[in-house]
């Protein structure tokens, strides 16, 4: 009887150990984990492409997981650190160096031509994933920034319609007019000051960039001061949304919540039936400009594989399929923007409808003026993106002077970049 506890404990420990062991592979099927960010709608659309892949590749199962952008990266960071990354995942420009710098992303370069095809992809969008001899992922699409607005409200207010070549002063005037002629809690524009992505366009309009080729900051504190003072001018003139509205994004952006009649967004963020949400009052315009239009042609994101995947061949097949197969392109439509693969781009262009048709037309309009996207931003870029917003919040709530706050931000930005360089 004395031996019983030993036996029981041993048994319990064995059970515990096996429980941690995880499941082995079964019946010769490979299961890939594929992580995307976006809405549930986008998930459904991606599932269509994934299903086509599974139909064409019996023996490979793909488990797709979806999360909102912020949650996606929180989870990805933890999973990467824990060595438990998904096999295939979407990669944003500002996280790219964080991950490649830490050797967790598979280099696709050795597989180009065998397993991964790149010859039909528009060269403008290949830059982001290319890093010397390495290729860290294929571009999912080509996008640029656009300004969706509510033409109904603009016309009613008598504001001048935005057109290619209009300026920030025009925007201020138009947005102010719209604010004055709409309900008290509806503004002409959403406050744009806190989003680094729009600041990036502004810098590009002035011939600068967020980062230089060597990963240093490509702008000065004065540029941030200028940008935040301009945003403050807009806000104080009543042209853009006040802090409480800008900050409230639980139920969507201020424009989606009908508190604003225009805002900036990447043109890959619409569903085909987007216009219905605004009862058809939905149009796309180019951004107001400073010295030039300054818009980039960029991939919305890359599709990359984990360097630690145990299913290398299958992961490469999935990446290639999603970017290059017509069947995938048909399923994906314009959910990530214009297809990166030129044949696919033409292939789907005939069947577009609603907002996707509008995006296509917008890309045709600004296409000739688009600049090739900048190289991947350095390590620390994802933190800076968040800090840019966090510092601006004090400005948008009138708790800090735009100039002081801009200089404080810049000092920290330099610090973050310096920290990440050693």
């Amino acid at each position: 009887m004395k031996k019983t506890p030993v036996a029981v404990t041993a048994l319990a420990l064995t059970l515990l150990a096996t429980a941690c062991g995880g499941s082995g592979s079964e019946d010769g099927e490979t299961t890939l984990r594929f992580a995307i960010w976006g809405s549930d709608e986008r998930y459904e659309i991606v599932q269509g492409a994934v299903q086509a892949f599974m139909d064409d590749n019996p023996g490979i199962q793909v488990e797709t997981t979806v999360a909102e952008y912020d949650a996606y990266w929180q989870r990805m960071n933890t999973e990467m650190a824990g060595g438990n990354a998904p096999d295939v995942f979407l990669m944003s420009d500002r996280h790219l160096r964080e991950y490649t710098g830490r050797n967790v992303v598979m280099d696709l370069a050795p597989h180009v031509g065998e397993g991964v095809r790149t010859d039909d992809i528009t060269p403008e969008v290949m830059g982001l994933g290319t890093d010397g001899d390495h290729l860290w992922g294929l571009p999912m699409s080509q996008i640029t920034i656009t300004m969706p607005y509510n033409p109904g409200l603009w016309e009613e207010a008598g504001a001048e319609a935005p057109e290619l070549g209009w300026t920030w002063d025009d925007y201020l005037e138009a947005a102010q007019t719209v604010s004055e002629h709409t309900d008290e809690d509806v503004y002409g524009a959403s406050d744009f000051g806190g989003i680094e992505s729009w600041f990036k366009v502004y810098l590009s309009q002035k011939g600068k960039s967020l980062y230089t080729e060597d990963g240093e900051l490509g702008y000065t504190a004065d540029d941030v001061v200028e940008w935040w003072e301009m945003a403050t001018e807009f806000r104080e003139a009543g042209a853009t949304t006040p802090g409480e509205i800008t900050n409230d994004t639980t139920a969507g952006s201020p424009m989606v919540q009908r508190h604003s009649a225009s805002e900036f967004t990447p043109d890959s963020t619409f569903a085909p039936d987007q216009a219905d949400e605004f009862d058809g009052d939905f149009a796309l315009a180019p951004l107001p400009q400073a010295d030039s239009l300054g818009l980039y042609a960029e991939p919305a994101m890359l599709i990359s594989a984990s360097a630690r995947t145990s299913h290398e061949e299958e992961s490469l097949a999935l990446i290639d399929y999603v970017v290059n197969e017509p069947a995938a392109a048909e399923a994906l439509g314009m959910t990530f923007g214009l297809p990166a693969n030129q044949t696919n781009r033409e292939h789907i262009s005939g069947d577009l409808e609603g907002a996707w048709q509008q995006v296509y037309e917008y890309e045709e309009l600004v296409g000739p003026e688009l600049k090739e996207g900048p190289p991947a931003p350095p390590q620390g870029a994802s933190a800076l993106f968040d800090l840019f917003t966090a510092y601006y919040e004090d400005v948008m709530f009138d708790r800090a002077d735009p100039e002081e706050q801009a200089r404080a931000f810049y000092a920290e930005a330099e610090q973050v970049i310096a920290d990440n360089q050693d």
Partner: protein, 314 residues
């Protein structure tokens, strides 16, 4: 059959002296092993590791490099958001804990009156604490105080239009303070137990001497309850310093608006898992430990002047 019995009876005193498993210490340790393993692997090990990492530039992926006190130095001299996070946390503790304890004591006093329904009330008031700091609760809280939510409608009724308390830097922290105050159940139960310990004779004697309710509360209830108040204060202060879920959910992980809900633990998490600065995050964790130890120490020190134990001469 009788011989073994007597033998074991004779042996018993000796064995008892050296413990039940004196002859087989291994068996005892084997029984303890799940706990010991847990404590070593899941608690002590990670703690020591984080102490080491706090002196490095560990970024979750690469080999940590020793950088001495740099993390600590930067935190204390050159990190504005660290200051914001300390401020948010201290505000939360300073407002949240006393109000929570006052609410707990108030309700405990009401429940202490004999009533047929007191059992029901006690359970009802304790129920929120069962939900505790859960994510579900924080989500509910967020939707209560979001734009055009119930809180907005209520304040609109009183002519104070608001646009989502959680979006207003003046009010966002209040939302979190309300959330912790609402979870007064656990200290309430402890207060209730303490109140039951106070001898009724004291109140009777005071009444005979003409003391009114307030005087009885000040002169009898508070001093007699002071050890319990002390206990609740220490416990809830320590807990409040470590609140994470609520702030994370209510601000969507950002600590906004304007860093007003950027609690220490939230900033720590952002540093470690969003900005990949795990060394810095570890240093923050150790500084939090020191900070809590300091505050707890101060409360203990102050206790000498206001906590009275029964039978103690003062």
């Amino acid at each position: 059959m009788t011989t073994p019995l007597t033998r074991s009876a004779a042996a018993r005193p000796r064995r008892r002296r050296s413990g039940t498993y004196g002859d087989h210490p291994a068996t005892g340790y084997l029984f303890l092993s799940p706990w010991i393993l847990g404590a070593l692997l899941l608690f002590l090990g990670p703690m020591l590791a984080s102490l080491y990492l706090s002196f490095t530039d560990y970024d979750l992926f690469s080999t940590p490099n020793w950088i001495g006190l740099e993390n600590y130095e930067r935190m204390l001299t050159d990190d504005a958001r660290f200051g914001n996070s300390v401020l948010a946390t201290v505000r939360f503790v300073v407002f949240g804990v006393p109000i929570q304890l006052a609410a707990a004591l108030g309700v405990a006093l009401l429940l202490n009156r004999a009533s047929r329904m007191s059992g029901v009330y006690r359970s009802a008031f304790y129920a929120p604490s069962l939900l505790g700091g859960s994510v579900a609760l924080a989500l509910v809280w967020r939707s209560l105080f979001t734009a055009d939510g119930p809180a907005d409608q209520l304040s609109g009724l009183f002519g104070m239009p608001s646009r989502g308390w959680v979006n207003d830097p003046q009010l966002a922290l209040a939302v979190l303070v309300l959330l912790i105050v609402w979870q007064f159940g656990a200290p309430m139960v402890i207060f209730l137990a303490g109140l039951k310990q106070i001898p009724q004779e004291l109140y009777d004697a005071a009444s005979v001497d003409g003391a009114n309710a307030w005087q009885r509360f000040r002169a009898i209830t508070v001093p007699m309850l002071s050890p319990v108040i002390f206990f609740n204060l220490v416990l809830n202060t320590i807990n409040a310093f470590q609140v994470f879920n609520a702030a994370f959910v209510v601000s969507g992980g950002t600590g906004g608006p304007s860093d007003t809900t950027l609690f220490y633990t939230l900033y720590l998490w952002r540093k470690g898992f969003v900005e990949f600065n795990m060394g810095y995050a570890s240093a923050m964790a150790w500084l939090l430990l020191l900070g809590i130890a300091l505050v707890t120490g101060l409360i203990f020190r102050s206790a000498r002047s206001w906590v009275h134990y029964a039978g103690e001469k003062k």
